[in-house]
């Protein structure tokens, strides 16, 4: 147990040590202070054309246009992969609904996988299709965060920056160098990177086995760094080729949270008040620690019904890689759900009911505990606005954030985003049950089946991408609805926050006085956490009670389904 906590503590320290300088560097990149790749920027942006400053509508339109183009391209590649090169296994094209679902999934940075990677997709589809979107969807998210930070900091401005410039810089200065470095490290640590389809080996028992291979390291690097999560192999980072050693495991976990955590510091610098960034880092960090503690306790406690078959002292090891053990599986599960990454190194379906609840709740809160690259920060800022508005009135002034008055328009937009998760999870989930499609897709009866369904729709709406494996998603209904949920969960947050940034940019910031609501101290952090928990968790408590909580109490009573 001590060793476990030591590992978790080490992870936290390393994350902080990485996030602070990275955040500082990113701020310099996006403010244009770091420009050593300027010639390359010019070449790329020359193709994109317009580099003028954009208002929020133009910025959002550029983003939508770019993502629509990315979707069309990926959809085409997936649909016609049998006609395209580098398809050593000779895989057929995807069904229309799987192609739609997958294309949406990678464009929205969700990386939900309704298919098994190594048995469905050609190398070309993986590299030219998925890996490309891994970069571009992440860069889009980062661009949003940067534009929002600019809008919040601006003073009577009409513009938020230029989408094409921001996206290019995110890719050139941060994602590409980061991914290349990480890929080389992964290679050195034993991850394959080849265009060969597979290798045949003789096992210890003398049997024959075909091991799938491919350009793994390059995809895995960006899948972690860009909070994508879409694995090369079906079992994702539990596969020994995707996660060969304890060190790749540790590096992967760091890579998952590095950019999202760094963004809090980038934000602090960009709004010229590092305290604001620190406060967000701390609020997110506390939620992360709480989630880890809860899941760790649940998994340690294990499943009493297993006592007859397994050593209770080992905790719940069902669905976990023995190579990584309990703490590294829990730490991964918490970071990947908190960060909307979605890669897994253990089967979330096999977490204890309460462990699974934590994973689910992390997603349902809106992926804001560091969250996806860029969008985690902006999602958190939406909660900040709601918190500031609710509690800000209590100091007897029109609520302000960073000196900008939070008025009806901002509240309206932020309140709109409160509807995203309930629609994607509760309404779509209920629809699946009403149409009978949920019942035919889940593997387990009773509350666990409900958890599988809810997890799937939470994962899609939260743009996470991980799953309770028992849920069969590759049907026309679920591919379509999950696709819709992913779109809703992506653009249902991005568009309103850009609109808020646009409206805040136009305002004159008021000077801070003793009468100003302070948004950087411990009181505010506490308040923010409580608002997230009360507003976020209250929405899902009923369904969680019928899913994981019901399963938990049933296990305690020895009842199975």
């Amino acid at each position: 147990m001590q060793a476990d906590l030591l590992q978790a503590g080490l992870y936290a320290l390393m994350l902080l040590a990485l996030a602070v300088p990275l955040g500082w560097f990113m701020a310099r990149v996006f403010t244009g202070e770091v420009r050593f790749l300027a010639p390359l920027e010019h070449v790329i942006l020359g193709a994109a054309g317009d580099r003028r400053e954009q208002g929020w509508k133009a910025y959002a339109s550029s983003l939508l246009l770019f993502n629509a183009a990315g979707f069309s391209l990926l959809f085409g590649i997936l649909l016609f992969q049998h006609r395209l090169p580098i398809n050593p296994q000779g895989f057929d094209g995807l069904s229309w609904h799987l192609a739609i679902n997958t294309a949406i999934s990678f464009v929205t940075n969700t990386n939900w996988q309704s298919y098994g990677g190594e048995t469905t997709l050609s190398h070309f589809s993986q590299m030219a299709g998925l890996t490309t979107q891994n970069f571009l969807s992440a860069a889009s998210g980062m661009a949003v965060a940067v534009a929002v930070a600019r809008g919040f900091a601006a003073r009577q401005a009409k513009h938020l920056g230029n989408f094409w410039t921001d996206m290019t810089r995110a890719t050139l200065y941060i994602l590409l160098p980061g991914a290349i470095t990480l890929a080389i490290l992964f290679l050195a640590l034993g991850m394959p990177q080849t265009l060969f389809a597979s290798v045949d080996v003789t096992t210890l028992e003398g049997g024959k086995q075909t091991l799938s291979l491919g350009p793994v390291a390059s995809q895995i690097a960006i899948k972690q760094l860009g909070t994508n999560g879409g694995g090369f192999f079906n079992v994702n980072s539990a596969h020994p080729f995707e996660n060969p050693t304890a060190i790749t495991n540790f590096l992967s976990m760091l890579a998952i949270l590095a950019i999202p955590a760094a963004f809090t510091f980038t934000y602090g610098r960009m709004v010229n008040d590092p305290r604001q960034g620190r406060a967000l880092f701390v609020a997110m960090g506390l939620l992360l620690v709480a989630a880890f503690a809860a899941m760790y306790a649940a998994e340690r406690f294990g499943n009493p019904l297993h006592a007859a078959y397994a050593d209770p002292a080992a905790g719940n090891m069902e669905g976990k890689e023995v190579r990584f053990g309990l703490v590294n599986s829990v730490l991964w599960a918490v970071t990947t759900t908190a960060a909307s990454n979605g890669s897994v190194n253990a089967m979330h379906d096999s977490l204890t009911p309460l462990g699974g609840l934590i994973a689910m709740l992390n997603i349902q809160l809106g992926e804001i505990v560091y969250g996806g690259v860029g969008v985690g920060l902006t999602g958190m800022l939406l909660f900040v606005i709601i918190t500031v508005f609710l509690a800000g009135l209590m100091v007897g002034r029109t609520p302000e954030y960073l000196g900008k008055k939070i008025e009806a328009r901002e509240v309206k937009l932020a309140a709109l985003t409160l509807l995203v998760m309930p629609i994607g999870v509760l309404v779509f989930g209920a629809l699946a049950i009403a149409t009978g499609t949920a019942q035919s897709s889940v593997q387990d009866a009773g509350p666990h089946g409900l958890s599988e369904l809810i997890y799937a729709y939470s994962s899609a709406t939260g743009n996470n991408g991980s799953a309770f494996a028992g849920f069969t998603a590759n049907t026309a209904f679920h591919n379509t609805m999950l696709g819709l949920a992913m779109l809703l969960g992506r653009f249902g947050y991005i568009i309103p926050i850009l609109a808020i940034a646009g409206s805040l940019a136009a305002k004159t910031p008021a000077a801070a006085t003793a009468g100003t609501f302070p948004t950087h101290g411990p009181v505010f952090v506490t308040l923010l956490i409580l608002t997230i928990l009360i507003v976020g968790a209250l929405t899902f408590l009923p369904v969680l009670a019928l899913g994981p909580i019901a399963e938990h109490v049933s296990v305690l009573f020895g009842r199975t389904f």
């Binding site: 509690a391 002034r397 029109t398 509760l426 409900l450 009181v523 409580l530």
Partner: protein
């Protein structure tokens, strides 16, 4: 001067409560309810519950008995919210009635020729048009707002200000405006009508407190949106629940779902929101301030900079004797006596203050001097005043240059030193000479009002900067500013300089409040975010300001800021309380709904409620009663002490946030015990 006692209205006046009960039912009118999304939703589902319960009754279903009770409490929730609004409105009406009593009916004398007071004809007051000129004589009521174009009269304005002493109204200058509903006590006035009867300040004030035409303030609108969104979120939660329950092998009666919905949506703040708004306006009216818009009241709470006129606000407006400073060789008492005698007949405030100071310090009494001496009054030619005593000695006082000139320039150099020193502090030196010899100087000072310094310190703690506006030179201004404890000052102020200052502050993102009365204040009043016009001021000033102080008291600005802040705090605190309540309600209702499907979920019932039915009933009863319980807070406003935002936040968060988490656990448990003692479920 005495304030009328009628402005106090008890918090729970029986007459108002009786009327409010009636109004609560009348307010079930859907058109009115639709203004409030939360309560409107509650009414809609109450209607649904009613229909379902009747059907259940006809079918003889199992949930009929509990259904009736839930339905009743749902309607009570709506009625309680209506009641809260009605009580607030009732208090406003009671105040309005006292105003309305003074509203003039009858006829007015309209002059046919504005310059001829003899030629007039009667016209119905209701038909008066702006621009018409009317004559009003002693004992008559001024029918509508207007501007004096001829005459001087004393007017009793107690009907609107509560101030019983009559005030002077005259043509021209800053005292030319009259208010409808006030009475001319003596003499006569010729008035040009500026406002149509029915749209006067009095009418605006009545409309404002009655709440019927009340516009929602900006923050109220934003809050309404948030509450509506939360209502929608919980609607989705409740509407989808049957499907998940169905999956779990259980069905939840719709009436229980309705109960869950109503307990989750923010009915507490939804029900009290308009009462809080009306009560805020009422507090303002009680302070004799008319707001032209709700926006102005809220803006008052946001103020960063307060521009205050020195005279009348910070100082008493008159210079007062502060010390006697004799030249070397003259005793202080000698100087004091001379000054005392010279001022005995001086009726100016300065003169009186010299007499007072001397009497206080040395115990002089007039004795027979008054009858035997010859007083020399101040004239523009001599520019000095004084007294020639019976024994032949003559005393003169005046500005130093005047007296020195009278003495032929032969004075003690020490005197000039004293004069210079006093002048340098911004005070006024008055030189006193007896029989051709300068005795010394009376130090006249602008006296800062007592306790004003503390007031400014309070404002500073709230984050509000005070700036003193004065026509004095910078030296004088600095001295008074330091004494009064204002943060900054604007000396030698002109209307242009004032306007410029406001613009500069606003460019830095600050909200500025000021008060003024003269026509030349109008541009600055209009530019300021909160402009308080004195009722005694010119129509131009009143038009430009967005708040009007009927008492014409410049310090009122500070009170207005407090009212604005309290309004916002009350809303925020009750919203926080309302949302925090949901946690306990979940713990009451969820186990009750799901215990049939998963008996183990009984573990969530931390309150140990008697039965599922009783749990649901208790939660809905608590939800309804808490509205009633919080009406006093909504009406009085949350207690507010000036303090920094950080400490206010912590304090209110503990009371209303933490309180909101804990109170319902206790309340629901207590109601559950009662429900079971009465065997209701």
């Amino acid at each position: 001067m005495s304030k009328q006692a009628t402005t106090e209205i008890g918090l729970l006046e029986p007459a108002i409560l009786r009327e409010a009960l009636k109004q609560a039912v009348l307010k079930l009118n859907p058109k009115g309810l639709a203004r409030n999304p939360v309560i409107f939703s509650t009414a809609l589902v109450s209607m649904l519950a009613t229909i379902l319960t009747i059907r259940e009754g006809i079918a003889g279903g199992a949930t009929f008995a509990i259904g009736i009770q839930i339905t009743l409490w749902l309607w009570f929730t709506v009625l309680f919210a209506n009641f809260a609004e009605a009580v607030a409105e009732g208090r406003g009406k009671a105040r309005a009635d006292t105003f309305r009593a003074t509203r003039s009916k009858g006829r007015a004398k309209v002059l046919l020729d504005a310059h001829d007071r003899q030629l007039w004809e009667f016209q119905e007051v209701e038909l008066l048009e702006p621009g018409e000129v009317i004559l009003i004589e002693a004992g008559e009521l001024i029918p509508t707002d207007g501007e004096v174009i001829e005459g001087v009269a004393s007017v009793n304005e107690s009907a609107i200000t509560g101030e019983s002493a009559p005030v002077i109204r005259e043509a021209g200058g800053d005292r030319s405006s009259v208010t409808g509903g006030t009475t001319i006590v003596s003499d006569w006035l010729v008035i040009r009508v500026t406002t149509r009867p029915g749209e006067t300040f009095l009418d605006r004030m009545i409309a404002m407190v009655e709440g019927a035409k009340r516009q929602k303030t900006p923050n109220e609108i934003a809050l309404d949106i948030l509450l509506a969104a939360l209502t929608l979120v919980f609607l989705l939660v409740v509407v989808t629940l049957p499907f998940f329950a169905n999956w779990s092998g259980t069905t939840i009666p719709v009436i229980y779902l309705i109960a869950l919905f109503v307990t989750l949506i923010p009915t507490t703040i939804g029900g009290l929101l308009s009462a809080i708004g009306i009560a805020g306006m009422d507090r303002l009216v009680k302070a004799s301030v008319i707001a032209k818009s709700g926006r102005a009241v809220e803006a008052a709470g946001d103020i960063d900079v307060l521009l205050l006129d020195k005279t009348g606000t910070i100082t008493f407006g008159n210079r007062m004797a502060d010390a006697f400073e004799p030249v070397p060789g003259v005793h202080e008492i000698t100087l004091a006596e001379a000054a005392y005698l010279a001022s005995l007949a001086d009726e100016t405030p300065e003169g009186k203050s010299i007499v007072e100071l001397a009497a206080r310090k040395f115990g002089f009494t007039p004795g027979t001097t008054r009858d035997t001496a010859t007083f020399v009054p101040f004239t523009a030619q001599t520019r000095m005043s004084g007294v020639d005593l019976a024994d032949g000695s003559s005393i003169r006082k005046g500005a130093s240059d005047t007296i020195i000139a009278m003495l032929g320039g032969k004075v003690d150099p020490a005197l000039e030193g004293i004069v210079r020193r006093i002048a340098s502090t911004g005070a006024t030196p008055i030189v006193v000479a007896r029989d051709g010899k300068a005795l010394g100087v009376v130090h006249l000072k602008d006296v800062v009002k007592p306790a004003i310094r503390e007031r400014f310190a309070e404002l500073r703690r709230m984050g509000i900067r005070t700036v003193m506006i004065t026509g004095d030179n910078p030296l004088t201004a600095a001295a008074i500013a330091a004494e009064a404890g204002v943060d900054d000052f604007l000396a030698e102020a002109t209307p242009e300089k004032k306007l410029e200052l406001i613009r500069k502050e606003q460019a830095e993102g600050k909200l500025v409040a000021m008060c003024g009365d003269g026509s030349n204040d109008a541009p600055a009043l209009a530019q300021a975010d909160v402009g308080v016009a004195m009722n005694s001021g010119t129509p131009a000033a009143k038009e430009a300001g967005n708040l009007i102080d009927l008492d014409s008291d410049p310090t009122k600005l500070i009170e207005i800021v407090l009212v604005g802040k309290q309004l916002l705090i009350s809303r925020g605190a009750l919203t926080t309380f309302s949302i925090a309540n949901d946690v306990a309600k979940y713990f009451a209702i969820l186990p009750a709904l799901f215990i049939a499907a998963y008996p183990g979920l009984g573990a969530l019932d931390v309150m140990g409620l008697a039965s599922p039915q009783s749990a649901i009933l208790s939660a809905i009863i608590f939800n309804a009663l808490v509205i009633i319980a919080l009406i006093p807070i909504a009406l009085k406003g949350v207690a507010y002490r000036p303090a920094s935002a950080a400490s206010l936040l912590t304090r209110n968060l503990v009371i209303y946030g933490l309180g909101g988490l804990i109170v319902p656990f206790v309340g629901i448990k207590a109601i559950d015990l009662t429900v079971n003692a009465l065997r209701l479920a």
